[in-house]
């Protein structure tokens, strides 16, 4: 009889990582009502930017590159964890500018545009970094293995889960405790009222999209050492992220976090006991939850339900 405890720990860890992946996605959907199908490509892009930052990329052989490579891996990794999301955020902001003509039209336009952007970004990655598998190096302090309850766990995965908790808390604090967060939430609730109060809605959207893209890039950096890094890795991201916001309730921050933990637990536990069902378990969870509660766990009540 195998112990369930390590699998529960694994499920929760996995859930936290799913939450990190879904954070940017839920923010963009919540505020802008745009399903950003390029989320996965921005996730990949963040990791690739970090890869180049750590290795020095094309500048590695230059004088600057040689100087840069004298820094320990930990320093370069920390800088990469800032540069990667920042650049992914800039690409996201650019994408938001491209999206502007679609506002006020059927949501299909935005969906198609972000789908096209995903294809362009993936192909650009392939051209810039090649089609092969890449290895995003991590500092020695967070690599290797550790024992938890007699079982070997990956130190990096524990670090990644801890990082996910930190990221979730930071985003929550930003949304709840800062005036910018209040404006974003107000924008999600009633954008016309926000505009009427004199806030620049265009800038708000630009910021939210860029911020969501930066979070996607950050998730890419954290996940690449676990999943590996290849141009089409974004495909692995969009579906779980989409599932999570539907299960959690569109636009609900904590709904997305709870949904992520549930998805992580379902994948982790089925992976242990009925592994053939581990991938499909998240879809079953979706059917079960949405079947009984169409707006998801913490989604806003629809006018039609009154």
């Amino acid at each position: 009889m195998q112990s369930i405890l390590p699998h529960l720990i694994n499920g929760l860890t996995l859930g936290l990582l799913f939450a990190l992946i879904a954070l940017g996605f839920t923010l963009i959907v919540g505020v802008m009502e745009v399903i950003n199908l390029a989320h996965g490509s921005l996730f990949a892009l963040g990791a690739y930017f970090a890869l180049t930052t750590i290795s020095g990329g094309p500048l590695a052989t230059s004088e600057f590159g040689q100087w840069w490579l004298t820094f320990p891996l930990g320093t370069r990794y920390a800088v990469a964890a800032l540069v990667g999301p920042l650049l992914a955020g800039l690409v996201g902001a650019l994408l938001e500018v491209c999206l502007r003509p679609t506002y006020g039209k059927a949501s299909l336009y935005g969906l198609l545009l972000t789908f096209g952007a995903a294809l362009v970004l993936e192909e650009s990655i392939r051209l810039a970094w090649g089609a092969g598998e890449q290895n995003l190096r991590t500092p020695g302090a967070i690599t290797g293995a550790m024992l938890i309850g007699g079982m070997i766990f990956s130190t990096y995965k524990v670090y990644a889960a801890g990082f996910a908790i930190l990221a979730i808390l930071c985003v929550w604090l930003f949304l709840e405790k800062t005036p910018y967060g209040a404006i974003i939430k107000a924008g999600a609730h009633d954008s016309e009222m926000v505009r009427a109060l004199g806030y620049d809605l265009g800038r708000l959207r630009l910021f939210v999209f860029g911020f969501g893209a930066a979070l996607a890039g950050l998730a890419g950096i954290v996940m690449a050492p676990i999943w590996g890094l290849r141009p089409h890795i974004g495909l692995d991201v969009v579906i779980p992220a989409f599932l999570i916001i539907v299960i959690g309730g569109v636009g609900s921050f904590w709904g997305a976090v709870i949904a992520s933990l549930l998805v992580g637990l379902s994948v982790g536990l089925t992976g242990a006991f009925v592994p053939a069902w581990s991938m499909v378990s998240m879809y079953i969870l979706l059917i079960l939850i949405v079947g009984f509660r169409a707006r998801g766990l913490l989604g806003r009540k629809s006018a039609l339900e009154n």
């Binding site: 079982m151 992976g271 592994p275």
Partner: protein, 428 residues
Amino acid sequence: MLNSKINRRNLLASAAAGGVATFMGPWTHNRVLAQGAAKPIMIGTTTDASGQYANSGADERRGILMAIEEANARGGLLGRKLVSTHIDTETTPATGSRVAERMIQQEKCGFLLGGVHSGVANAISQVAQKYGVIYFNTNSSSPTEAGQNCHRVKFVWDGNGTNFAKAAIKNSINAFGGTFVLLTNDYVWGHDTARTTKKQIAEFGGKVLEEILIPQGTRDFTAALIKIQQLKPSIVAAAIGGDDQKALRQQVAQLGMGNKPVWLNNQQDWPDVYGLPADNLFGVFGTTWYHELTLPGVKEFVEKYKKMYPNEAIKVPGNVFYNGYMAARELFAAIERAGTTNNIAVIKALEGHVMKARDRMQHFDAMIDARTHQVQQTIYLATANPRPKDKDDLFALLAQAEPKDVVDLDAPAACKLESYEATPTFDA
């Protein structure tokens, strides 16, 4: 503003027109694709450029193109130039079918080459058989490809799961003990490979503690790795392919589980491991070729690759490139032996053909099995190289198995090749 014309009536009309066109399509069996002597021979490369085998697809395509260039440099075949055309098969069986149809019907390809994913290769071969077009499955290694899914027009160039299992299981049981956990990708190649692995384990007195099925697309293997720790097998036999394998490798390396238990990775394709850190390459695995083999012709072959592809990320050829190149080269040799591009004549020139070890840069002669159309060849067992002489020297070869010792004995019974008469005939 563009006035949308997509409405239900138009959609139904288009669907009906498409249906009629399909129904009225070419049903005749005997076709003539090209008659002019100077007309080029069209070669369709059905390789993946996207999806989980994009990297391997690009590599095998490079091999095919090098063989085509060599043939053209010699003046072509039968006085005709070779022209290749490529469409991305997207690592998707449905796309493979569509690509094969288009290559044959529109691009007028007389021969199709390329395939890494068994499902894609199977889909292409069904279309190829319908038209009688010779198809070379260059790199997919499901035993079913030369077993129940064999076709008269299809030739399988890679070693398959059975070949690799046979080469590895007996030695591993003797060296490391006989308790196994199987990690099986939940699709045709994984199941077929696991089936033959289990048979081998039983034959040599081993025991399977559990088989863990891994759905395709799995990115987190922690649950399986915890289970392996709990079951404590002496050997894990993994049949995990593509991106799943890459994620698995990364996570096994992070846990430091690469050495204990012992890992038997059915096959390790060169594009999947090239450029990764040494600890990502763990366990014992099979391959059909390595660029550091000390055999005649290997150095020249490697140099030729470097000259032709100086800017590729993969700096030396591996098994996938090799299989693509060898398959294309042997196809052209068969056309020359047959003295015609008639498909049936070329098929007959291929069946039972023996290829000298020296020509193939392997340790033993290889042969195209006339009963299954699989190339029976040398299988190498390898592991990570603890003392690499340069950054490309990733493998340490442990042993080489003769083709007769690793032959898939179940394949001839499972394979029912269509008769020559039932195969449409044409001159490419």
